[in-house]
């Protein structure tokens, strides 16, 4: 049994705690949050060790792994301290605010030979994963353009009082929402060389952007467009979609379905000429415990599996996440 700890009990932290707590190979022995209110509530419901200082938690508990779900500005310090204690680390996205911090965390994780994973859960969604397979098999021929978007109703009015409303803490649509789309697009075609025409638009927020629009320029003439808006009331929840254009067709994918249009059939992939549609029901492997989406459990299970199987070349590594942060950096500089 691995002994796990959770640092940060916000929306994601609590969700990870719930999932990890049911994992057959993990025992969650300690959790940490700076809010005494949250700890006070938990103390009435559980007998695991509660801390408001993560350093104390690391000193007093013999942990094997940790899930860090704190604001991005705190990642460098907490991740480094955990790695120095010899823990395998899962940290929420985005990975870092300063690229040098990211590089230092990667070096540390590699030197300590610890599993390091970042919470870009889209890679654990069946439909998005299937598209990666299709791209690698070249089903739509040479890819010449892709469009990545995400829309959702996060900030619908001017009042904003949490860390997500502060740029210095890693708040804003670019870091919070767009990072998911950028990471997914990188997963499909690699990172862009350059970006152009970037708009970081404020709609309701005072200190951060609410929408991100940009053109991405890759090698070999490949182009991309990014369109992300978290002030979109017409969407019930975050809706991420990628459309990929190739010389043999087109792929449109969101978390529920994967629509593939082909000029020529690809029998080896069981794809016909014209439209093919694959649904989440046939693309999603079952999980042992479901909370909000199979992908949240699947990514946690993957993290645990990498630890027990001593797998250090995992997907969603710190290095992979740093590539996403580098694109974010490019977008900020271009805006």
């Amino acid at each position: 049994m691995l002994k796990g700890g959770i640092i940060g009990l916000g929306k994601m932290g609590v969700s990870h705690y719930s999932i990890l707590n049911t994992h057959p190979e993990v025992e969650v022995v300690a959790v940490c949050d700076t809010s005494n209110f949250v700890l006070g509530c938990l103390s009435k419901l559980t007998s695991i060790s509660l801390f408001n200082d993560y350093k104390k938690m690391l000193d007093e508990c013999q942990l094997d792994c940790v899930v860090i779900a704190t604001p991005t500005s705190s990642h460098m310090k907490i991740v480094s301290d955990c790695l120095n204690k010899g823990l395998h680390v899962f940290v929420e996205k985005p990975f870092c605010l300063k690229l040098d911090d990211g590089r230092r965390m990667i070096d540390l994780a590699v030197s300590k030979k610890r599993v390091n994973q970042v919470g870009f859960h889209n890679k654990f969604i069946g439909a998005f994963r299937k598209v990666k397979e299709f791209i690698d098999n070249g089903i739509i021929g040479d890819i010449y353009h892709l469009h990545g978007s995400a829309y959702g109703p996060v900030v619908l009015k001017s009042k904003g009082s949490t860390w997500r409303a502060k740029k210095s803490e890693g708040g804003g649509c670019l870091h919070d929402y767009a990072s998911h789309v950028i990471d997914l697009m990188n997963y499909y075609v690699g990172a862009p060389k350059k970006v152009s025409g970037t708009v970081l638009k404020r709609i309701f927020s005072k200190d951060v952007e609410d929408a991100v629009y940009s053109t991405l320029l890759y090698n070999n003439g490949l182009t991309g467009q990014l369109s992300v808006n978290w002030s979109e009331e017409t969407y019930r929840k975050m809706s991420t979609m990628v459309t990929i254009y190739g010389t043999n067709g087109k792929i449109i994918v969101d978390r529920q379905e994967c629509k593939i249009y082909l000029k020529k059939a690809i029998p080896s992939c069981k794809l016909e000429k014209g439209w093919n549609v694959l649904y989440t029901t046939e693309l999603t492997p079952p999980v042992w415990f479901y909370l909000r989406g199979e992908e949240y459990s699947a990514q946690m299970d993957y993290f645990v599996g990498c630890i027990t199987g001593n797998k250090l070349d995992n997907i969603n590594s710190f290095a992979s996440a740093l590539t996403t942060d580098m694109v974010i950096d490019m977008l900020m500089k271009d805006a």
Binding site: G10, G160, T162, T234, S239, Q256, T280
Partner: protein
């Protein structure tokens, strides 16, 4: 409970198969008149139980039903709370404390955190009761025989292992609303264990039950075993697995599970409503 229960996903842009279809539905049902037209079809076809969230538009539906008692004689609501997106958006926008303050209108909240006072368990229970009362306000004067805790909340608490919360919830629903507590989950076997451990007796549980094992955590065999052997009242949802199974096959499978008391489904056309009803009656 009625054998057939009508669900509300189609009215609120919830379509677990396709986001495109979800959006089209959300445009069609943007006002309560459009929703009532479909509910009327279901009611007139003999489906008189409506299992719904506590979305604001449901409050309008409640008003219509309340104002027309003869037209809607015997109409029952099975509320499902909390309406998750309302709270999730509030938590993201204002933090957990901010959200709590918003939904309990501040007063108890201030009492709780004033001067660093330690939170007692009874305070948390009081907050839970206040939230339930706030969610239930729209159903005042209407028949609500079963009141459900919605799946994100249930599964979150289930994973955390806080079974006492379920016991408190069950107790309050029975005592205050003279109704049966219901739980919606994607993790039936685990929920059965925790409810049993916390003396929540013969619970009503609504879970995904379908021929392909979609969102049936623990596996289809475990579900079949638990449904057959354990003491609870089962409602099946997602019987079509978001459209992946043909209706006749889907209904035949679920009706073949002897201890499934009720089936909840959603539809937006007369044809689909009548077809599904006919199939369920045929295979039951």
């Amino acid at each position: 409970m009625d054998r057939i229960i009508f669900g509300d996903n189609q009215f609120f842009g919830v379509n677990h198969m396709s986001e495109e279809k979800a959006r089209a539905q959300s445009m069609r049902f943007k006002d309560s008149q459009a929703i009532m037209k479909v509910l009327d079809i279901a009611y007139d076809a003999g489906i008189k139980t409506f299992m719904c969230t506590t979305h604001d538009r449901i409050a309008e539906i409640c008003d219509i039903v309340r104002d027309n008692p003869d037209r809607y004689d015997g109409f029952k609501f099975y509320p499902c709370m909390p309406y998750a997106h309302k709270y999730a958006n509030a938590v993201t926008e204002e933090g957990a404390l901010g959200a709590l303050k918003k939904f309990t209108s501040g007063s108890i909240f201030l009492t709780l955190i004033k001067g660093g006072k330690a939170v007692a368990q009874k305070d948390m229970i009081t907050v839970m009761k206040l939230l339930i009362d706030a969610e239930m306000k729209m159903f005042e004067g209407l028949k609500t025989d079963v009141i459900f805790l919605q799946n994100v909340t249930v599964d979150l608490i289930l994973g955390l292992g806080f079974g006492q919360v379920f016991a408190e919830y069950a107790g309050y629903i029975r005592e205050r609303y003279h109704a049966e507590p219901g739980f919606i989950t994607m993790n039936l076997p685990l929920l059965l264990d925790i409810l049993e451990d916390n003396d929540v007796d013969n619970p009503i549980i609504c879970s995904s039950i379908n021929k392909i094992g979609f969102r049936m955590c623990g596996g289809i065999e475990k579900y079949e075993k638990d449904i057959s052997e354990r003491k609870f009242r089962a409602i099946a949802m997602s019987i079509l697995a978001s459209g992946a199974i043909a209706p006749e096959e889907a209904v035949s499978y679920v009706c073949g599970l002897k201890n499934v008391e009720s089936i909840v489904f959603g539809a937006s056309s007369k044809a689909h409503i009548l077809q599904t009803k006919e199939l369920i009656e045929r295979f039951s």
